[in-house]
């Protein structure tokens, strides 16, 4: 693969921002994404709460690698390539669980939760110092780091520290990790689904406030039917570029939030509890922050492919292309660790009302993305997608497209080798403004 692809993928002027539809259909673009983005960024692998006790593990595919993430006896979480250093078999063949050891069933090598080789059948046939340099151990990923409970790996040993990489997104990860004094954790039950569309369409869709009213008309109807009327809160707010390709939209919305925003559907029983949660948030964080936590929604994108949508519940999802027109998605529900039975029930209920493959909204998003991909069959005659909404505004609204331009600009820098040196700006640097030319 040459350093540059042979086509212009982003076309940008003062008033327009266009993305080539070839970016969604070409195999060589996807190959470049794996080599220049997924191999060069911090990637979400799981949440700290999935590892409670030593020996807790998950096996997960992250950017085409099989990883084994474990908590060792010292209580440290680590990520290893899930392949026996001897002859290659995966040493862990269950998706999750608790184990003292991982034994490769092929020749019986045994590894501890720290990845170290513990025993080899026929050890006497090997030289005495066979593992002196660790060549018999599971290979750890080049980089592993945790921020606010979110665990990331990178396949680039030279990448900047995770905190620097996260830049302005840190504030938002801090916010969603502070809803509960007991911490936050992912709920049991993982949504694993797929969309027959390019993965970047889901990036766009996850931070797109513009499509809510048209795509999700039936969901808004549902809110009206079940709550008596739509709440007087209008869908309105702002979007922000958080630096390094990360972005957020933050807005008020007419649906309930189980954290501290009540709607009639929750029932009178829950009203007191919601008020108590809010009062406690005020004590802990002050009125302004508590109101923001309770009443504002946040759709957060961590470049390239981690989405944390703190909306009618909190969803965490990550996704990778299998081919330019097919992606695999994993989704989780994030919740306070010590939530009352009532609150947990309504959180999950609220989640399913809108989110996920069986919700009242996500299936319509899936249809929209597949419809775009179908439309891209015309890419030779209709070559560009337009992403310029709100470009001339000083403060773009939640339903403008600043956040997508932040993603696409960074994507373009990676794909075309245009990243500034050092590779990422520190968290204190001002976020890129909307007018920086990609």
């Amino acid at each position: 693969m040459s350093d540059k692809l042979d086509i212009k993928l982003i076309d940008r002027g003062d008033e327009h921002f266009r993305v080539s539809r070839e970016a969604f259909v070409r195999e060589d673009v996807m190959d470049a994404e794996y080599a220049r983005i997924f191999d060069k960024c911090w990637l979400y692998v799981g949440h700290e709460s999935e590892f409670k006790k030593p020996g807790d593990f998950v096996a997960r595919t992250v950017a085409r690698r099989n990883l084994l993430v474990t908590k060792n006896n010292e209580g440290e979480i680590g990520a290893f390539f899930n392949t026996c250093p001897h002859r290659g078999a995966t040493v862990c063949r269950e998706p999750r669980g608790n184990a003292k050891n991982f034994q490769c069933f092929y020749h019986g090598w045994v590894f501890g939760c720290d990845g170290k080789l513990k025993s080899q059948p026929g050890k006497e046939s090997y030289c005495e110092d066979f593992n002196a340099e660790g060549r018999g151990n599971l290979m750890p990923v080049p980089r592993f780091a945790i921020y606010a409970g979110f665990c990331f790996v990178s396949y680039d040993a030279d990448i900047v520290p995770l905190e620097d990489y996260l830049a302005g997104a840190r504030e938002y990860l801090d916010l969603v990790s502070k809803y509960s004094e007991a911490g936050m954790g992912v709920n049991e039950g993982m949504q694993e689904y797929a969309i027959r569309a390019n993965w970047k369409l889901l990036v766009e869709n996850s931070i797109d406030g513009y499509h809510a009213v048209s795509t999700h008309a039936t969901y808004l109807d549902y809110l009206k039917n079940t709550n008596g009327s739509l709440s007087s809160t209008k869908l309105e707010g702002i979007s922000r570029d958080l630096g390094n390709g990360h972005a957020v939209l933050e807005y008020a919305a007419p649906w309930g939030r189980p954290i501290a925003s009540w709607v009639p559907l929750f029932g009178e029983d829950g009203k007191g509890e919601i008020e108590a949660i809010h009062a406690r948030l005020v004590e802990l964080h002050g009125q302004e922050m508590a109101d923001r936590m309770a009443f504002k929604n946040r759709n957060i994108l961590i470049f390239p492919n981690l989405v944390i949508n703190d909306i009618m519940a909190i969803t965490v999802r990550t996704f990778y292309p299998q081919s330019p027109d097919y992606m695999l998605i994993n989704g989780w529900s994030l919740a306070p660790n010590e939530e009352s039975e009532w609150a947990r029930k309504y959180r999950l209920s609220n989640f399913l009302e809108f989110l996920g493959p069986g919700g009242f909204a996500t299936p319509d998003d899936v249809e929209a993305l597949e419809s775009c991909q179908n439309g891209f069959k015309n890419h030779r005659q209709v070559p560009w997608s337009d992403i310029s909404k709100g470009m001339s505004k000083d403060v773009p609204s939640y339903d403008d497209e600043l956040q997508m331009r932040a993603f696409w600009s960074r994507w373009n820098q990676h794909i075309n080798g245009l990243l500034p040196e050092p590779a990422t700006r520190g968290a204190d640097a001002a976020p890129a403004t909307d007018r920086v030319v990609a």
Binding site: P95, R96, N187, E188, G189, M190, Q191, E192, Y193, A194, I195, R196, T215, A217, T218, D221, Y222, N225, T226, Y326, L328, W332, S333, E341, R344, K345, L348, S349, F351, L352, E353, G356, P357, G358, F360, T362, P363, D364, V366, E367, A368, E370, N374
Partner: protein, 171 residues
């Protein structure tokens, strides 16, 4: 296999044929998109559940994330939604075929019948043919002489919801 019935209740025992009639009727109503008629097969306090595929068999939707966990209110709203053209994922509507087999009565205490079945539901749309395969567990109740569905729990045999992207039809 039927549970022993309480004294004097034998006459009211539900037969497999009666359960099969109900489930086959349900399948046909779904395949012909007669969703209001389908909903009428359910009790006023029904639940409709599709657990995520990695959950244990007895998972509880109040504690774990499902794909679908509808109470009666939301199931009714699901039907309202699916009958609209603005339910974009199902307009134009999918063609579906619900096949129900291996029907057995697992328990019958005279008030409620627990029945199990296996199913394959095919969904055809936009050039894709997707199959949902799994087991069904029903709680049935007799109301005014007719069997009604109080709970339908759909456990997918799929390892995950792939290659599908959604459960936008009623299984």
């Amino acid at each position: 296999m039927n549970a022993v019935l309480p004294e004097g209740r034998a006459a009211a025992a539900t037969t497999r044929a009666e359960v099969e009639d109900l489930l086959f009727t349900e399948a046909e109503l779904l395949d012909t998109w007669q969703l209001n008629e389908w909903l009428a097969l359910y009790t006023e306090d029904c639940t409709y559940l599709v657990p995520s595929t990695d959950l244990p068999k007895d998972a509880n939707p109040d504690r774990s994330l499902f794909y679908i966990a509808d109470d009666a209110t939301r199931l009714k709203e699901r039907v309202v939604r699916l009958m609209k053209k603005t339910a974009h994922s199902e307009w134009p509507r999918s063609r579906t075929r619900h096949l129900v087999a291996n029907v057995r009565i697992l328990a019958d205490d005279g008030d409620e019948v627990v029945a199990g079945a296996a199913f394959i539901t095919a969904r055809m749309k936009n050039g894709s043919n997707d199959q949902f395969i799994g087991s069904l567990r029903y709680r049935l109740r007799r109301i005014d002489g007719e069997l009604r569905i109080a709970e339908k729990r759909i456990t997918l045999d799929l390892e995950n919801l792939r290659p599908h992207g959604r459960i936008s039809i009623l299984l």
